[in-house]
C-alpha cells in the first residue's frame, strides 16, 4: 500500500440511533437515487414510459377537445345572451340555432300579450318575425338581407341599441309606420359612408324611411353576420310586408339568470293552457334556453370525448401493466442490489420508496412525453378543421399529472412491495 499512513476514524460511540418516520429530505434523496437508477437503464425506462405516453397523449387530446367545445359554447352563449330565452312557433326538435324554417303559426299576438303580462316583473318580452333574403333597394343600390319585424321591446330584449338615429318606438308600432332600423352591414352596403338616417329605401317594394342604425355585433361563432339585418315594426311587418297573423319567435331577456328555469316552466304551462294542449300531447312551440343550446353542442362532442377518454384509459392501464411487469422483472435482476442496500441500512420502507419513486418517475416522464405528443393534434387540428374546436388549458397538465402519478403509484406499489419484502439474508446470497 505504498506506505501511506492510515488515518482511519476512531470507532464511534454514538448514542442509540432513533428510528423515525421517513423524512421528506430522505424521501427526496431516495427519489434522486431512483432517478439515477432509471438513467442507467434508459432503454428499459423508455419502454416503461411508452404506454403512459400514449395514454396521456390521448388524454391531452380529449381534454383539449373538451376545453375547445366549452369555449365555443361560451362564445355562443355570449352571442345568444346568457339570460335570454327563445320561444318558437311549432313543436318538435330543431338542430342548433340555425333552424329558420318558416313553419308554424301557433304563436299569436294574444299569446305574446299573455306572456308579457305574466312575466312583466321578471323579463323583457319581445315578439319577432324573421324572413331571409328579402330584396331591398336604396337609390340604385340593390341587395338582399334578412328582415326582422319586432315590437318596441327589441332593444331591451336583445341588449342591442341604436348607434345613430332613433329606435323603433310605440308610436311606430301603433301606426304601422313604414320606418326601419338598419344593421351596420346593411347600412354600409346601401349607403357606404353616407348617413342613412332619414333616407328612403324599398323593402320588398314597400317604401320605408331609415330611423336609425344599430351598433355593430359582428360575426357570430357560426360565421353568421349579425349586422346583415334590417328591423321594422312588428305591426308593419305583419300587415304591410309579410301578411301574417302570427309571430315566429318570442324573445325573453330574463332580469335574473336564476329565473331562467322557472320562467321557462311557467311560460310552457301558460302557452299549453292557452293552446288547450292536453297532458301527454306535445308542445306546439319550442323553448330554447342557453342551457339547452349548450347541452346540444356538448352532446355532439360527448361521443368523441367518451371514445377518446376510454381509449386513453385503456392505453394508460395497458401501459402501466407493462410498466409494472418490467419493474417486477427488473427487481428479480436487482436482488443483489436490494440485499446490499439492506445491509447498508436501508429499511423496508426505504426500498419501497426507491422502487415506488422509480415507477412514479417513469410515469411522470411518460406524462411529459404524452403531453408533448398530445399538444400536436390540439394545436394542428383546429387549423385544419375550424369546426373542431380544441384548446390548451391548465386542465390538460393538471389531469395529465394527476392521472399519470396516480396510476404510476398504484401500479408501482406491487413491485415496490415485493422489493421491500425481500429477506436481506436471502437477497445477499
Amino acid at each position: 500500500m505504498r506506505g501511506t499512513e492510515l488515518a482511519l476514524p476512531a470507532p464511534s460511540r454514538v448514542a442509540s440511533p432513533k428510528v423515525r418516520a421517513l423524512r421528506p429530505v430522505r424521501a427526496f434523496r431516495l427519489a434522486r437515487h431512483a432517478a439515477g437508477a432509471l438513467w442507467s437503464q434508459k432503454g428499459k425506462a423508455f419502454l416503461m414510459m411508452i404506454g403512459t405516453a400514449v395514454g396521456i397523449m390521448l388524454l391531452t387530446a380529449v381534454v383539449g377537445l373538451s376545453a375547445g367545445v366549452e369555449s365555443r359554447i361560451n362564445e355562443i352563449m355570449q352571442a345568444f345572451g346568457p339570460r335570454s330565452m327563445m320561444v318558437r312557433a311549432g313543436g318538435g326538435q330543431m338542430m342548433g340555432m340555425g333552424g329558420r324554417a318558416a313553419s308554424g303559426s301557433t304563436l299569436k299576438l294574444e299569446d305574446v300579450a299573455a306572456v308579457r303580462d305574466r312575466l312583466a316583473d321578471r323579463a323583457v318580452v319581445a315578439a319577432l318575425i324573421m324572413r331571409d333574403d328579402i330584396p331591398i333597394k336604396a337609390g340604385d343600390q340593390n341587395t338582399q338581407t334578412d328582415v326582422m319585424a319586432c315590437d318596441p321591446n327589441f332593444p331591451q330584449a336583445f341588449d342591442w341599441y341604436v348607434a345613430s338615429g332613433a329606435p323603433l318606438d310605440e308610436d311606430d308600432e301603433r301606426s304601422m309606420a313604414r320606418v326601419c332600423v338598419l344593421g351596420a352591414t346593411v347600412a354600409k352596403n346601401l349607403f357606404f359612408d353616407q348617413d342613412p338616417v332619414g333616407q328612403r329605401i324599398l323593402v320588398n317594394k314597400v317604401q320605408f324611411t331609415v330611423k336609425g342604425v344599430l351598433t355593430s355585433r359582428g360575426t357570430n361563432s357560426m360565421g353568421f353576420d349579425l349586422d346583415d339585418r334590417l328591423w321594422i315594426p312588428l305591426s308593419t311587418g305583419m300587415r304591410r310586408v309579410f301578411h301574417v297573423d302570427s309571430v315566429r319567435t318570442i324573445r325573453l331577456n330574463v332580469r335574473d339568470a336564476k329565473d331562467i328555469g322557472p320562467v321557462g316552466e311557467e311560460m310552457t304551462a301558460l302557452l299549453r293552457e292557452r293552446h288547450r294542449i292536453h297532458p301527454g300531447e306535445d308542445d306546439d312551440f319550442t323553448i330554447r334556453t342557453p342551457d339547452f343550446i349548450a347541452q346540444r353542442i356538448r352532446g355532439m362532442s360527448r361521443t368523441a370525448e367518451l371514445v377518446g377518454g376510454a381509449l386513453a384509459a385503456v392505453a394508460l392501464i395497458v401501459g402501466e401493466v407493462v410498466l409494472m411487469n418490467i419493474l417486477l422483472l427488473s427487481i428479480s435482476e436487482r436482488v443483489p442490489e436490494i440485499g446490499l442496500k439492506r445491509a447498508l441500512g436501508a429499511g423496508r420502507r426505504d426500498i419501497f420508496t426507491e422502487f415506488l419513486a422509480e415507477s412514479i418517475l417513469v410515469s411522470l416522464l411518460g406524462m411529459a412525453l404524452g403531453v408533448l405528443l398530445g399538444l400536436i393534434p390540439v394545436l394542428v387540428i383546429p387549423k385544419l378543421f375550424p369546426m373542431m374546436p380544441m384548446a390548451v388549458t391548465w386542465k390538460t397538465f393538471a389531469y395529465a399529472a394527476l392521472f399519470s402519478s396516480t396510476v404510476g403509484a398504484i401500479f408501482g406499489v406491487q413491485p415496490a412491495r415485493r422489493a421491500a419484502k425481500l429477506d436481506p439474508v436471502e437477497a445477499l446470497r
Partner: protein, 225 residues
C-alpha cells in the same frame, strides 16, 4: 463490545425445526480482530447474519456496545446496520451504475441527518485505501483488489463500531489478498473491532483471536499475543 448469551437459531421449514446455533456464549472486546472459522454448515453464516443485524436469533440475547438488540424490529435493526456496522463481502457488492465515490457514499442514503462532511469522509477513506485517482471511475473499470478496497472504504464511511467481513479475500488472487489483509491489519491497529469469516488459516493468522465453530457451538477460542 459484543455479548452473546445463550444465542440460539432454529429454522422452521415445512413444520420441521432445524437448529443451527445451540446456545452460543461469546464476549468480544473492543479492538479485537476475530477470525471466525469452521467447516461449512456449522452456523458461521447464521452467526454472522445475526451479528450483522440481518437476521434475528430465536433464543438468547445479543448486546452490542451496551445495547440489547434482541427485541428490535426491522426498522431499528436497519438503523443499527446503518450507524454501527460496516460490511465487506466476498463478492464486493458494489453498485455498478455509480462511481467509486458514490459507492462509498451509498450508506449515507439511509442516514438522517445526512452528514455535512460525507464527501470529505469518503474522499479521505479512498485516499487511505490508495484509490484517490479512481474516484470517478465505475467499479467495473477496477481490478478485483481495487473493488474490494472500495468496499472497505464504504464499510468504514459511517465509522462503524464493528466491521464485519465475510471471506473478503475469497475472490482475490494472492497479491490482491495480501493488500486487503494489510488494510485489515491497519484498521485493526487503529483500534476498530473486526469479525472476519474465513476458511484459510493463513488469512486467520492476521487476527488476534480465532474462534472455531462446530455444529452450532464454539469448538475452540484461541487468543494470540
Amino acid at each position: 463490545m459484543i455479548e452473546l448469551r445463550g444465542l440460539e437459531k432454529t429454522y422452521h421449514t415445512g413444520g420441521v425445526d432445524t437448529p443451527v446455533l445451540h446456545g452460543i456464549d461469546l464476549d468480544i472486546e473492543e479492538g479485537e480482530f476475530v477470525a471466525l472459522m469452521g467447516p461449512s454448515g456449522t452456523g458461521k453464516s447464521t452467526l454472522m447474519n445475526i451479528l450483522g443485524c440481518l437476521d434475528r436469533a430465536t433464543g438468547g440475547t445479543y448486546t452490542l456496545a451496551g445495547q440489547d438488540l434482541t427485541a428490535l424490529d426491522d426498522n431499528q435493526l436497519s438503523a443499527i446496520r446503518n450507524r454501527r456496522l460496516g460490511f465487506v463481502f466476498q463478492l464486493f457488492h458494489l453498485l455498478p451504475r455509480v462511481s467509486v465515490l458514490q459507492n462509498v457514499l451509498l450508506p449515507f442514503l439511509y442516514t438522517d441527518p445526512y452528514p455535512s462532511d460525507a464527501k470529505e469522509r469518503a474522499v479521505a477513506l479512498l485516499k487511505t485505501v490508495g484509490l484517490e485517482d479512481r474516484m470517478a471511475f465505475k467499479p467495473n473499470a477496477l481490478s478485483g483488489g481495487q473493488q474490494q478496497r472500495v468496499a472497505i472504504a464504504r464499510a468504514l464511511v459511517n465509522e462503524p463500531a464493528l466491521l464485519m467481513a465475510d471471506e473478503p479475500t475469497g475472490n482475490l488472487d494472492s497479491v490482491a489478498s495480501k493488500e486487503i489483509l494489510d488494510i485489515f491489519d491497519r484498521i485493526h491497529a487503529q483500534g476498530r473491532t473486526i469479525i472476519m469469516v474465513t476458511h484459510e488459516t493463513d488469512v486467520a493468522a492476521h487476527a488476534s483471536r480465532v474462534i472455531t465453530l462446530k455444529d452450532g457451538r464454539v469448538a475452540s477460542d484461541v487468543r494470540r499475543n
